[in-house]
C-alpha cells in the first residue's frame, strides 16, 4: 500500500508539473514597493504621451492641419497615460478562464 501511495503522490506532482491539472496560485508578480510603482507610473505616463504626441504631430505633418490633430492627440495621450497608471494599480486579472 505504501508504494501505491507514493506512486499517487508522484503522479500528482508530475501532472501538476506538466500542467495537466488546474494551475496553482499566482507567483512572480512585477516588483512591488513605492519606488517600483513610482518609476513604472512615470514611465507609463511618459510613454503614452510620447505615442500621443508622435501620432498627432505625424498626422498633422501628413494632412497639413497643424496644430489641431496635435492638440487632440495630446489630450488622448494624456488620457491613455492615466489609463495606463490606473491599470498599473488595478490589474484586471480575472480568474484563469477564456
Amino acid at each position: 500500500m505504501d508504494e501505491r501511495d507514493g506512486f499517487e503522490e508522484r503522479l500528482r506532482q508530475a501532472r501538476a508539473r506538466e500542467g495537466l491539472d488546474t494551475p496553482r496560485e499566482q507567483r512572480g508578480a512585477p516588483p512591488q514597493g513605492p519606488w517600483g510603482f513610482g518609476l513604472r507610473a512615470g514611465v507609463e505616463v511618459v510613454s503614452a504621451l510620447v505615442v500621443g504626441i508622435g501620432l498627432g504631430y505625424g498626422l498633422d505633418r501628413w494632412l497639413g492641419t497643424w496644430p489641431w490633430l496635435f492638440l487632440v492627440f495630446f489630450v488622448l495621450g494624456s488620457a491613455a497615460g492615466v489609463l495606463n497608471v490606473y491599470r498599473l494599480f488595478n490589474p484586471k486579472r480575472r480568474p484563469r478562464a477564456e
Partner: protein, 251 residues
C-alpha cells in the same frame, strides 16, 4: 576617457566605434554588435553545457543553466498559463539577451548594448509585433474587441477607442524606455562618481581622504547596478509574459 581636462565626460562611454579593423569599418561592426555576439555565444554555451551533461546531480554550470531555465519557465507558466508554454523559447531568448547585455556592461571596458534606445526599442517592437500577431492568430477579428471594453456606452466609443489604441501602442515605448533609462542612468552615475574620485584625488595632501567618499558611493553603486541589471531583465521578461497573457486570454 572619463576626465578630459577638468570636466566630467559621462556620455562618451555610449559612443559607438567600429571594431575589428578593416572588416569592422567595412560593415560598421561596432563594439555594441560585438557584445551582442558575445551575449548570444555565452547563452548558447550555457545552454549547451546544461543540456549536454544532464547529470542527475548538476555541477555549477549546469545548475546555473537549469535555474535560469526554471526561473523563466515558472514565470511564463504563472503569468500566461499552460497555453503559454509554446511561447517559452521566445521569452527565454529575450530574457537571456537582455540579462547578458546588462551584465556584460558591468565588466570594465565593456559596452552595454542595452543602453541604446535603438536596441531596446527594437527588442520592444519585436515583442509587441509578436504579441499582436499571436493575438490576431488566436482570436482573429475578435482581437479588436480588446480596444472597446464590454458594457461601455457606445457613444463613448470615439473617445475610448483612440485612448485604448494609444495605450496599446505605448506598451512598446514604455518597455523600451524603462530598460534604456535604467541602464543609461546607472552607467552615467558610475562614471560621474568615478570622475569625482580622480578629480578629488588630485587635491594634494587631503585628496586621497576626500576621494574615499565618492569611492565608497561608487562601490555601493556597483552593487546596486548588479541588482538593476537582474531586475530590468526580469521586468522586461515579465512584462512580455503579461502581454502574452493578454494576447492569449484577451481581457
Amino acid at each position: 576617457m572619463a576626465v578630459e581636462g577638468k570636466t566630467i565626460d559621462a556620455l562618451s562611454q555610449f559612443e559607438l566605434a567600429p571594431v575589428g579593423g578593416v572588416f569592422g569599418w567595412a560593415v560598421s561592426f561596432s563594439q555594441s554588435n560585438l557584445f551582442m555576439v558575445v551575449a548570444v555565444a555565452l547563452t548558447w554555451y550555457l545552454m549547451k553545457a546544461t543540456a549536454d551533461r544532464g547529470a542527475m546531480v548538476p555541477g555549477r554550470l549546469q545548475a546555473l543553466g537549469e535555474s535560469a531555465y526554471e526561473f523563466v519557465a515558472g514565470m511564463v507558466r504563472d503569468q500566461v498559463g499552460d497555453e503559454g508554454k509554446k511561447y517559452f523559447p521566445f521569452v527565454f531568448s529575450v530574457f537571456m539577451f537582455v540579462l547578458f547585455g546588462n551584465l556584460l556592461g558591468m565588466l570594465p571596458y565593456a559596452f552595454t548594448y542595452t543602453s541604446h534606445i535603438a536596441v531596446t526599442l527594437t527588442l520592444a517592437v519585436v515583442v509587441w509585433v509578436a504579441v499582436t500577431l499571436i493575438a490576431l492568430k488566436r482570436h482573429g477579428m475578435h482581437f479588436f474587441s480588446y480596444f472597446f471594453p464590454e458594457g461601455a456606452p457606445v457613444w463613448l466609443a470615439p473617445i475610448i477607442i483612440p485612448v485604448e489604441v494609444i495605450s496599446y501602442l505605448s506598451r512598446m515605448v514604455s518597455l523600451s524606455i524603462r530598460l534604456f533609462a535604467n541602464m543609461v542612468a546607472g552607467h552615467v552615475m558610475l562614471k560621474v562618481f568615478a570622475t569625482f574620485v580622480v578629480l578629488l584625488g588630485g587635491l594634494g595632501t587631503i585628496g586621497p581622504f576626500v576621494a574615499a567618499m565618492p569611492l565608497a558611493v561608487n562601490i555601493a553603486l556597483v552593487g546596486f547596478e548588479f541588482l538593476v541589471a537582474f531586475l530590468q531583465a526580469y521586468v522586461f521578461a515579465i512584462l512580455t509574459s503579461i502581454y502574452l497573457h493578454d494576447a492569449v486570454h484577451l481581457h
